[in-house]
């Protein structure tokens, strides 16, 4: 598989007040810390983690909505600069979580879908309308949807519109930022199946951001687990689900409710994720980790191979 997009040591820091004349010391929110991962053409990589783990921030970096504070992003092997982004913006599209905020209420659906083509100036008005009509059919909406406005559609239909817009410029990667979590369960599976079909048809790659491991299990090839802005484990889906190496991943998988299984006591994660304003020293997971030892409070574990191919974990006691 050939690498399509890769992040290389990407950190994202937000100023969080302070500084200036009277503000005291500057405070920095570390949303992502030296994260590296790659998405191959046609594959689906899931970014999973609790809220606040930096999943969406990294999605924004890949979609070009957030400039990283450190690190670089590669697209087809080339480090992206200003000129490179122009091509990358066509090839990378984004679908948001909230289907009610993602569509301009004052735009008819045809204009929404064809918008990326208009912005990139790659098609004239007639060609854009033709493409919009084609896409409406492809994502399973009725043809008369074209001249209607977003408020006339349900959440699932809106998400289909958002997907159609992302497809318009024939992208190679779609960043899907929790595209299902605002939808009803019955609608979730429909949209999920649509995304699967489109992937098979066009060889799309997805960067699928989610906290729902059941959905992840259904769709993705590889999983990257984030904790407090750090990548703690990455591996092929089956391998990672069957043999989680990092204690955080193990706890996360244990937290998934399953029918016919009593939840074992003591295996749930204690406490809450620390504030990204004051990350703990050493391994950021040590305050909640059942295996924490002295070394965890001092040394930051590196992301190293577990011994199974392509499966890395950042833990001093990886299994």
């Amino acid at each position: 598989m050939s690498e399509l997009v890769a992040l290389d040591g990407v950190s994202v820091h937000f100023p969080a007040g302070g500084g200036g004349w009277f503000g005291g010391p500057k405070r920095v929110l570390r949303a992502a810390e030296r994260v590296s991962f790659a998405v191959a053409a046609g594959e689906t990589l899931a970014l999973v983690g609790e809220s606040g783990s930096g999943k969406s921030t990294l999605g924004n970096v890949v979609a070009g909505l957030q400039v990283p504070s450190e690190g670089t992003m590669r697209f087809r092997g080339k480090v992206l600069d200003k000129a490179g982004w122009k091509e990358a913006r066509r090839a990378i599209q984004i679908v948001f979580q909230d289907p009610f905020g993602a569509l301009d209420p004052r735009m008819p659906v045809s204009a929404i879908i064809a918008e990326p083509l208009l912005i990139q100036g790659s098609a004239d008005a007639a060609a854009r309308r033709a493409r919009a009509a084609e896409l409406v059919e492809q994502v399973g909406l009725p043809m008369d949807a074209l001249n209607r406005y977003p408020h006339e559609f349900s959440g699932g239909q809106r998400q289909r519109i958002a997907i159609a817009r992302a497809l318009a410029p024939r992208p190679e990667l779609i960043v899907a930022d929790e595209p299902l979590s605002a939808l009803d369960v019955s609608i979730q599976s429909q949209v999920l199946n649509l995304m699967k079909e489109l992937q098979e048809q066009y060889g799309l790659a997805y960067l699928f951001i989610s906290h729902d491991l059941a959905v992840v299990n259904h769709l993705v090839d590889r999983v990257a687990v984030l904790y407090l802005g750090r990548l703690v484990e990455v591996g092929a889906r089956e391998d990672l689900f069957d043999h989680p190496s990092h204690p955080y991943t193990q706890a996360l998988l244990n937290a998934v409710p399953r029918i016919g299984r009593k939840r074992a006591r003591g295996q749930t994660i204690k406490g809450e994720m620390p504030s990204p304003l004051h990350p703990p020293a050493g391994c950021v997971f040590h305050p909640r980790c059942p295996k924490a030892a002295d070394i965890c409070r001092i040394d930051v574990p590196a992301l190293l191979p577990t011994g199974r191919g392509g499966h890395d974990a950042a833990c001093h006691f990886r299994e």
């Binding site: 982004w85 066509r90 599209q93 209420p105 008819p108 990326p116 990139q120 074209l146 406005y149």
Partner: protein, 302 residues
């Protein structure tokens, strides 16, 4: 409209929605008639109708074959004065609102979208404008000697100078409310996901402002514009009353209404005609605004 037509451009959809709004379409017709009425003065003047010709033997004449709406206190024909005055009032209303509105929208958009220092500078400037007391400012601006600004003597004393003076004064004073309105709406809109999706596709500031922000703030802008047009036409009469801007004998609906105040007992018709025309204009503009709102807001129902 057939059920299975292809995609239609947003502007065509908006036009359709506007045409379905009856009051809006009717108001457009009324405004059209008012403009025709005002413009009809031009050919009528070729045929010897003169808005300034006085006839002191025919003061306060009732309507007759010669003077269809009678004459005013100087024996001038009321009808042709209403027509010429209409040109002044409508032009002042549209131009002053338009210029002030465009300035306000631009400043609000830039302040809201770019934020930070641009916002701080533009909004402090706006606050400064709001803080200026209106009447002394008007008197100072009205008293500016245009020959000192490099305009020729002929222009400075012509009716056109008075007209432009009014347009500029109103435009300078009247943009602040629109600027604040647009700024607030822009700040709320620029972080919405549909704007971020457009930016992810490579949209620049200009595209986001014209395609996403403006249509979404169209409703309050239109309301502000329609309210301003009516106010400006009346404001013009206040300024004329104070002696700035359009000064008699050049007629405008505002100064005709003002002149008629003293005579309202002896010649009420002289107040009623311009009053009715201003009333019709303001009402029509408001309903036109309703129609435009309906066209821009897909959620509104007629």
């Amino acid at each position: 409209m057939s059920r299975l037509e292809g995609a239609v451009s947003p502007w065509r959809l908006r036009r359709r929605r506007f045409l379905r709004h009856r009051a809006g379409v009717a108001s457009l017709g009324v405004l059209g008639v008012l403009v025709m009425f005002a413009l009809a003065a031009i050919p009528m003047q070729w045929f010897g109708w003169d808005p300034d010709a006085t006839d002191l033997f025919a003061r306060f004449d009732p309507p007759s074959a010669k003077h269809w709406l009678g004459t005013d206190e100087a024996g001038r024909d009321e009808l042709i004065r209403l027509m010429v005055g209409g040109q002044m009032s409508l032009l002042v209303g549209v131009l002053a609102t338009g210029i002030g509105g465009v300035v306000g929208v631009l400043i609000g958009l830039c302040a809201g979208y770019f934020g930070g220092r641009v916002d701080a500078v533009l909004m402090r400037f706006t606050d400064g404008m709001i803080a200026l007391p209106l009447l002394p400012l008007l008197i100072v601006l009205g008293a500016v000697d245009l020959t000192k600004l490099g305009f020729s003597r002929g222009f400075a004393h012509s009716g056109a100078a008075g007209f432009w003076r009014i347009v500029v004064i109103i435009a300078i004073v009247d943009w602040t409310a629109i600027a604040r309105l647009v700024r607030a709406a822009t700040i709320a809109l620029k972080e919405r996901d549909f704007v971020r999706a457009a930016r992810a596709s490579g949209a620049g500031a200009g595209y986001v402002m014209t395609s996403h922000v403006l249509p979404n703030v169209a409703t309050p802008i239109i309301v502000a514009f329609t309210l301003t047009v009516g106010r400006v036409i009346l404001f013009e009469s206040v300024l004329s009353f104070l002696g700035f801007g359009i000064v008699p004998p050049t007629p405008s609906w505002g100064n005709m209404l003002n002149n008629a105040q003293e005579l309202v007992i002896s010649a009420p018709a002289l107040a009623i005609y311009p009053g009715l025309l201003i009333f019709a204009t303001v009402i029509a503009v408001n309903f036109l605004g309703d129609g435009l709102q309906h066209a821009f807001d897909p959620r509104s129902e007629t």
